[in-house]
């Protein structure tokens, strides 16, 4: 199975490539005034408004560095009724993919108190890789606000 790797600070995280639609350069978002914490704004992706979430803000409390390797991962975010909506994630060092057996990922053992989007972990020579569950990235109320606001605006 192929995973897209990115970094939050020094730690490595992966997303299942099945959920990823495209990796975009770190494009300028339109700011959403009053947007909740972690929402960097909205991007116009081929005429469609897509909310942009900065993972560094969510995980580390600081925005992603403004360098070339910081990119926007466009994922298909599952919503009710089997439908998916596009969601942009800003992450650092989005420069490689890794091929791993899904069975390599095991529960980290410290689930309590961890953010809900962090899934099981896999290890290699460099340390630990954490799997991010895209569907758990947004709390329900944030998801409601975000997608409703964008719909009303478009």
């Amino acid at each position: 199975m192929l995973f897209l790797m990115f970094r939050l600070g020094a730690d490595r995280y992966v997303l299942d490539v099945e959920q990823v639609e495209e990796v975009l350069p770190f494009l300028e978002p339109t700011l959403l005034p009053g947007a909740p914490h972690g929402v960097a704004g909205a991007i116009n992706y081929r005429g469609q408004a897509v909310p942009l979430l900065d993972l560094s803000v969510l995980a580390l409390g600081r925005p992603s560095a403004a360098v070339i390797s910081t990119r926007v991962i466009l994922i298909r975010y599952p919503v009710e009724g089997g439908e998916t909506r596009r969601l942009g994630l800003v992450a650092e060092r989005v420069i490689e993919t890794v091929s791993r057996d899904p069975d390599d990922f095991v529960p980290s053992g410290v689930d309590a108190g961890m953010p809900p989007y962090l899934g099981p972990v896999a290890s290699d020579a460099e340390g630990v890789i954490q799997l991010v569950r895209a569907e758990a990235l947004l709390p329900v109320q944030l998801r409601e606000i975000l997608f409703r606001k964008l719909q009303a605006g478009s």
Partner: protein, 214 residues
């Protein structure tokens, strides 16, 4: 670098120069990716993705590719799907009692004996027309190997231009009054560098070849 020096380097516990190079290149690549964003970079990309129309998967699938080559004065195109290889013209060994028809003989293509045919004869092209006119036609002569799952066949052409990608929608019908050679094998006309190139129907062509060499 020879094998012996490789081994010596390994024994001495040294990092192989090529591996050291690779590490250096990786570091350089990383440094490039970690450089700050140029001014206007983010705004420019935002404009780029805002403006572009979504790429329709259907349109994408209609892109096709053909190899364009020349026999005599005739430029022809044939789908890349049937192309196996293009190589220097080989020495063709003629076969006894097979001096008529399209078979020119057999050729050794990397250890495999392939039947070599004359596509010019099959298509009814006067292949000497251009040869008389100038010498350039002789310098680019190539052997082309085409085929399907059940066998491969070689023929020589005077020149291979290369692979041309085109939009299936841009093909035009073969003119009804076409005086061009090989029109019965031509499925459509392809505009290329200001001229119309006949796109050969690969299935019909290969069927005809099979019939003629049987």
């Amino acid at each position: 670098m020879s094998d012996t020096s490789d081994r010596k380097a390994d024994e001495a516990g040294m990092v192989h120069p090529r591996r050291r190079d690779r590490q250096a290149y990786e570091a350089i690549a990383r440094a490039l990716l970690d450089r700050p964003l140029p001014p206007e970079y983010r705004a420019e990309w935002a404009r780029h993705f805002a403006g572009e129309k979504p790429i329709d998967a259907g349109v994408e699938a209609e892109r096709a590719a053909a190899v364009i080559f020349r026999i005599g004065e005739e430029w022809l195109a044939l789908s890349t799907a049937v192309f196996k290889e293009v190589a220097e013209p080989p020495r063709i060994h003629s076969l006894p009692h097979r001096r008529t028809g399209i078979v020119r003989g057999i050729a050794n293509v990397r250890g495999e004996l392939l039947v070599c045919i004359s596509l010019a004869t099959l298509l009814g092209i006067d292949k000497n027309a251009a040869v008389e006119r100038g010498d350039r036609s002789l310098h680019f002569e190539r052997m082309v190997v085409i085929g399907r799952a059940n066998g491969r066949i070689a023929f020589c052409v005077h020149e291979v231009h290369g692979i041309h990608r085109y939009d299936s929608g841009a093909l035009t019908a073969v003119p009804g009054t076409v005086g061009q050679a090989g029109s019965s094998f031509t499925s459509a006309m392809l505009a290329w560098e200001g001229r119309s190139v006949g796109l050969l129907d690969e299935a019909r062509l290969l069927d005809a070849i099979d019939r003629n060499i049987a």
